[in-house]
């Protein structure tokens, strides 16, 4: 049945495969560019972008593919980060322990809160995820033995199987790179799989999905846990990058920034989530050097993107590519 196996004509392939290749090639080359210009500043900025890109890709699973607008996503980053911080207080500083713990704890929080949140939908879902996010924030703020409001400084980055590999800025960079690549490939397989198709279907028409026999809730809960664990991974990396954890990592403003990243890049596109995270953080970096009130400039830009480029930056790029192909 050759006809069946042919790609559906609605989606142009080939050209779009080139985009992720370009993105990851660019990330792979940054430390080499940094040898000539930018130095460690460029490398650590690159790490930061990739760390948030992981969280943005995870959030896009919920917002872009599942229509589950989570306004508490930063909580999972914070939980992953605190796992590293708190373990280090007790002298456990190896990533072979702290990484699985960070993933497990953020996944567990996602499961426990998701069981409740996913009973609601629409605005209520937004509000309840925000509430659970704030709960995590205030819990962290009141953790006096672990720095409370002031946060917690980590003595040194985690070792990897006893080796101080992550303490080298370039080695750490490539560690984050591998994490982002793994996250990206996993999520890409996920959204195209049987599982992902149910989640995408539930976004379009949950009633139809129920009447053909899918318990939509279970699929959404599983997605919520996966997204939470991946944000936990991002938190693990963030704590190691900054050697510091603070309640600010889970503030609702941070959750909002993550949504902005996903919107800016283009909802429902994993490439878009990475591009959005990069665009947001680089704009922040650049504009905040120009003026302290950089958000006054960034705000209107975001409004323009949402108004005139509904598909975000990725949609804009697609339109341009189409126009070039025609010319």
């Amino acid at each position: 049945m050759a006809v069946l196996l042919a790609a559906s004509p609605a989606r142009p392939r080939g050209r779009l495969q080139a985009l992720p290749a370009c993105i990851f090639l660019a990330f792979a080359l940054i430390p080499i560019v940094a040898l000539f210009a930018g130095g460690t500043y460029l490398v650590s900025l690159g790490s930061r972008v990739m760390i948030f890109a992981i969280a943005a890709v995870a959030l896009d699973l919920l917002v872009g593919y599942g229509a589950l607008i989570s306004f508490g996503h930063a909580a999972f980053i914070g939980i992953g980060a605190y796992a590293v911080g708190i373990l280090s207080v007790y002298g456990i500083t190896d990533a072979l322990v702290s990484l699985p713990v960070a993933l497990a704890v953020s996944a567990a929080y996602a499961f426990l809160t998701g069981v409740v949140c996913l009973r609601t939908s629409g605005v209520y879902f937004i509000m309840i995820t925000l509430a659970f996010g704030q709960m995590a924030f205030f819990t962290a703020s009141s953790l006096a033995p672990f720095g409370g409001d002031d946060g917690l400084t980590i003595a040194a980055r985690n070792t990897l199987a006893g080796l101080p590999l992550l303490r080298n800025e370039r080695a750490f960079y490539y560690f984050v790179f591998v994490c982002l690549l793994g996250t990206y490939l996993f999520c890409r397989a996920l959204v195209r799989s049987r599982f992902g198709r149910v989640v995408r279907g539930a976004k379009e028409n949950p009633v139809r999905m129920a009447t053909i026999g899918f318990d939509v809730y279970r699929f959404q809960l599983a997605t919520y846990v996966i997204a939470g664990a991946l944000a936990g991974l991002s938190g693990f990396l963030l704590a190691n990058a900054t050697e510091f954890v603070s309640p600010a990592y889970m503030s609702w403003q941070r959750s909002g920034e993550l949504i902005v990243m996903v919107l800016l890049g283009g909802l429902g596109s994993l490439d878009g989530a990475i591009i959005g995270a990069a665009a947001y953080l680089l704009t922040e970096e650049w504009l905040s050097g120009v003026t302290e009130h950089w958000k006054v400039i960034f705000g209107p830009v975001l409004v323009l993107v949402v108004l005139f480029a509904r598909g975000g930056l990725i949609g804009l790029a697609r339109d341009l590519a189409r126009r070039f192909a025609r010319a």
């Binding site: 799989s193 049987r194 139809r208 999905m209 129920a210 899918f214 939509v216």
Partner: protein, 250 residues
């Protein structure tokens, strides 16, 4: 009647003061096409919604294939073999026609927690889906996004989705609503071909279609069954003619 595949016993439902299902007892035999007719507001769609689990009855029971399903959620009823179509087409507009049907096949196949492999390229899902599309005459439109299909094609797609579920009972809520003359004729022909594969509850306003297809007709008025029987008996029933058929058969 012990061997009815679907049996509603003294079902009641009211929205506020309005009683939409009033002590209704109703059954469907295996492979039977049981039509439900009645004026607008008689409670036909609410009845279908209660059977498929989208609306909970206030009291009464629903038995399906020998099981009490009154408390089961919609998806569990679908898993047992209860399929339905909607009065206003309910499809996944961004998915291709083929994917709409393949999802129904996937639901029957289980193992939807699989996270690897491209679902859209699985022959085990696409082949039966394609067969169902061919059944309703949509094979050539398989790769068109469902939202872009013409109205009549969407109606046919709903049927294909239901067929792919290999149901024991198929609930059709006005499948001919809004379709043109030719399309109606095609749908009638299609239903005639499908008749006998499974039981069908057909809610429909098109009396020509109903009398051409039904083995049994129940007339629903104000949430109650006014009359029930073979098409010939219902047509001859003076109460039915007075209450409903009088204006419909003009």
């Amino acid at each position: 009647m012990p061997d009815a595949v679907l049996h509603l016993e003294r079902l009641r439902k009211s929205f506020g003061a309005l009683v939409v299902t009033d002590d209704l007892t109703f059954d469907v035999m295996p492979r039977e096409l049981h039509a439900v007719i009645g004026p607008n507001g008689a409670g036909k769609t609410t009845l279908i919604n209660q059977i498929s689990g989208l609306v909970a009855p206030d009291s009464g029971t629903i038995q399906f294939a020998g099981r009490d399903i009154t408390a089961l959620p919609t998806h569990a009823r679908a898993e047992l073999g209860l399929a339905r179509s909607f009065q206003v087409s309910s499809i996944l507009p961004g998915f291709s026609a083929l994917e709409n049907v393949a999802l129904a096949v996937q639901s029957r196949a289980g193992s939807s927690f699989r996270v690897l492999g491209r679902a859209a390229a699985e022959a085990a899902l696409n082949d039966p889906a394609m067969a169902a599309l061919a059944d309703v005459g949509l094979a050539e439109r398989a790769h068109v996004p469902a939202g872009e299909l013409a109205h009549g094609e969407k109606r046919a797609l709903e049927l294909a989705i239901a067929l792919a579920m290999q149901p024991k009972v198929l609930l059709l809520d006005e499948p001919m609503a809004g379709t043109g003359h030719e399309e109606t004729a095609r749908l009638v022909e299609l239903l005639r071909r499908l008749k006998g594969r499974f039981a069908v509850v057909l809610v429909e306003h098109d009396m020509t279609a109903v009398f051409a297809l039904a083995d049994r007709i129940s007339v629903l008025i104000y949430g109650r069954i006014l009359a029930s029987g073979t098409p010939a008996r219902v047509r001859a029933d003076p109460r039915v003619v007075a209450a409903y058929l009088g204006d419909e058969m003009e």
